[in-house]
């Protein structure tokens, strides 16, 4: 007699087999059998969130900081629809998530039953794949496959919708071993063709104005990929820039690093992208915030694109050499090919790229991240810089919300390790950072976790402070409070004749009192001279903290590529804008 298991038991057996220790979720009618089973599995810790979107972002933070897939458990109907934003966010930023949702019993599907919705229909475009399980005997193999799909190739979210009757029903459990065959099919050859690697080496050898343009794919490929990237950059001595998602793959404090590129990237990174003769894209996807005006994007360069997702290649920008593969495998091959063919490459090539480096140093001297500091009011850039200086010794994990504060964090906080920077790039989800910080803290209990936030964004998921308090997660919410949706206000200033339509929040809560109401610690800094002391106070508290950092209301985030402009026409500051934004550009931005 085969040992039969209920659907709910199978869910936990799969979680165990997949090495899952934490799930983020919220109970409801259609998942009660699974919640009932939770008590029998003390090794799997459930984190009760306050809204399913929070569960999704927490699972994202967990995944991005640990390299393991994030798991969330939600009920049918509103439980599932609330998770949609987080699933879409994970899809855009390639974060492996497994979402298990309850569904009304199979016989009620299609009857507009209470809390019924077409979950697989709604989540079809925002998951890598999803399943509605109608047979309990298929449940375990579907769940195992869900983990496989989420974590292989280009990672992403998946969803398994389990009707309530299937959770009760008994059936046969399929061991993960039986699924190894499928794994083979999904793990196709991903180390790049020999011929392409050869061509890449020759392009590298020929180039006199090269640049590495690296993205989140390096981090997704794992710690080995990061090590190899550092080796590749070191044996070539080429300059390197990174996308928002790739920060930390290469040390931000290294001299070969030109800083982030793109709309709010540095002057040197963007000009180097524009003028280079060889661009080596490693795990980035030519996003529109990166390329600026696509018709004038890096006009003179040969382009190599290394990506695990073939559909990312030639999607926005046509490249000369495509290498489909896993970054760590391709880099390993590339490095050994360079070493073999051109031992001592960096030295022998030094002369060839020396004038390129000189040009980069000229751009660097512009100090495009510079700002005019003030003694009267805290400048947001200064706040991030002070936060960095006071935490850099601690291996801190940083999350953000979306907007000006996010760009200032990316510009002024230096990341030297991968998986330390969690931000919503593709979807640009305000409200991401606070729940993401919860997930990061769950995965890294002893570490310092800070959400660099804006006051508008953080209010979107503020309720999750209650989660942080419940599980003693000492996350630090560092709010750069300018009372405006700062990025919206900045665009309105630059493009809509200072018509600040609805971008001012006239009735903000008192964040210090709010912190106290949640049972955590509230701090406020109003003046530049108290900033350091207050940050130190925040760091000394072993509890969740909301830090209300009152900053200059009207500060703009520079440098900036105005929309409709290519990389070499950046705005460096307020004085620069009159002559750079043409009437035509205003229409485009």
């Amino acid at each position: 007699m085969v040992n039969l298991m209920s659907g709910a038991e199978m869910v936990f057996q799969v979680l165990k087999d997949q090495g899952v220790n934490h799930i983020f979720g919220y109970p409801g009618g259609a998942v009660l059998p699974i919640y009932d089973e939770l008590k029998n599995h003390p090794k799997i810790k459930h984190i009760l969130v306050r809204h399913e979107q929070g569960a999704g972002h927490a699972a994202e933070g967990y995944a991005r900081s640990s390299g393991k897939p994030g798991v969330l458990l939600v009920t049918s109907g509103p439980g599932a629809t609330n998770a949609v934003t987080a699933l879409t966010d994970a899809y855009m930023d390639s974060v492996p998530l497994v979402c298990i949702s309850g569904q009304v019993p199979t016989h009620l599907i299609g009857t507009d039953a209470f809390q019924e919705c077409d979950t697989t229909g709604i989540t079809r475009p925002c998951t890598k794949h999803n399943w509605l399980v109608k047979d309990v005997n298929k449940l375990s193999s579907i769940l195992h496959k869900a983990f496989l799909v989420a974590t292989t190739g280009r990672p992403g979210p998946v969803l398994v919708d389990i009707p309530k009757d299937i959770q009760f029903k008994k059936g046969k459990y399929t061991q993960v071993k039986a699924l190894k065959k499928q794994e083979k099919k999904l793990n196709i050859k991903l180390n790049g063709e020999d011929n392409s690697i050869k061509k890449a080496v020759e392009l590298i050898k020929k180039s006199s104005k090269p640049i590495f343009y690296t993205g989140g794919g390096v981090i997704n490929s794992g710690p080995k990929a990061t090590e190899l990237l550092r080796e590749l950059v070191s044996i070539t001595r080429f300059p390197i820039t990174s996308t928002l998602q790739g920060l930390g793959a290469f040390p931000g404090s290294d001299n070969q690093f030109l800083g982030m590129l793109g709309m709010h990237g540095t002057y040197e990174a963007n000009n180097a992208m524009h003028d280079c003769d060889l661009m080596i894209n490693i795990g980035a996807r030519f996003d529109d915030r990166i390329t600026g005006k696509i018709d004038e994007f890096s006009p003179e360069s040969k382009k190599i694109h290394i990506d695990i997702d073939p559909s990312s290649i030639n999607k926005n920008v046509n490249v000369d050499l495509a290498i489909v593969g896993d970054v760590k495998l391709v880099l390993k091959k590339l490095i050994s090919s360079i070493k073999e063919k051109y031992p001592n490459f960096a030295e022998s090539n030094k002369q060839k790229i020396s004038s390129w480096w000189k040009q980069i140093e000229v751009w660097r001297k512009k100090n495009s991240l510079g700002f005019v500091n003030s003694k009267k009011v805290i400048k947001p850039q200064h706040a991030v810089q002070r936060l960095y200086e006071l935490t850099k010794a601690q291996d801190a994990f940083i999350t953000t919300e979306v907007g000006q504060h996010q760009m200032w964090a990316a510009q002024h906080y230096k990341f030297n390790k991968p998986n330390r920077w969690m931000t919503s790039g593709g979807l640009g989800t305000m409200g991401y950072g606070l729940p993401a910080a919860i997930g990061v803290q769950v995965a890294n209990p002893e570490k310092l976790v800070i959400d660099i936030a804006g006051e508008a964004s953080v209010l979107m998921t503020m309720q999750e402070m209650s989660t942080a308090v419940q599980y003693n997660l000492p996350i630090k919410i560092f709010i750069l409070n300018n009372q405006y949706m700062g990025m919206v206000r900045q665009w309105q200033e630059l493009l809509h004749e200072k018509n600040y339509s609805e971008s001012y929040t006239a009735a903000l809560p008192d964040f210090v009192k709010l912190a106290e109401a949640y049972g955590c610690v509230g701090l406020r800094a109003n003046k530049p001279e108290e900033l350091d002391e207050k940050i130190a106070e925040m760091l000394a508290v072993n509890k969740p903290v909301i830090f209300d950092c009152v900053v200059d209301k009207m500060e703009n985030c520079y440098p900036m590529i105005p929309s409709g402009k290519p990389h070499n026409q950046m705005l460096l500051g307020d004085k620069d804008k009159e002559d750079k934004i043409s009437e035509e550009g205003k229409v485009l931005v």
């Binding site: 697989t120 229909g121 079809r124 475009p125 890598k128 794949h129 509605l132 799909v149 529109d288 600026g292 005006k293 696509i294 018709d295 997702d309 073939p310 559909s311 030639n314 999607k315 046509n318 665009w491 493009l495 809509h496 929309s563 409709g564 402009k565 205003k586 229409v587 485009l588 931005v589």
Partner: protein, 181 residues
Amino acid sequence: MEKSAYSFSTKKEKVENHIIVVWVDNEAGVLARVVGLFSGRGYNIDSLTVAKVDKKKNISRITIATSGTFQVIQQIKLQLGKLIPVHKVADFPKNKKTILREMALLKVVSSKAKLEKARKLCKKYKYTILDKTEKSLVLEISALKKEIDELVKKLQPLGLASTSRTGVVAMTKGSEVYKQQ
């Protein structure tokens, strides 16, 4: 693009017509995934035909007539290839090596004289009369899309009352078959 948040390309590229054939697992929702991919990413579907072709392996064959720039056609193929239930994707060139066919059922309701005229018009193509009354004819015709378009146009003044078309299906000539990449 009045005051939008994005810049756009000013390049104008040639639009190509392609026949994309996709072999998929015949499972719930698979057609929705394929169609949703097209609508979600703004690709065109000129026609779409789908049926199970391998009962044992439970595989359906979807034939999509589409149009787009070279870059868009490449994207369509690569994005389709990423769908989990998709086994293989083929791009059938519209040339002499490909057989293209569409089937149509045409009902003409008219006078005897006009019905006779309609029948004569169809002679140019391979056709079968499936049903016939004093006042009506139901014709089955298998031809190129363009030919059916023409015929439909000509039959309209003769009392064409109802048209049902399958959309295009395709197959390569010779002994070659598409293997999984």
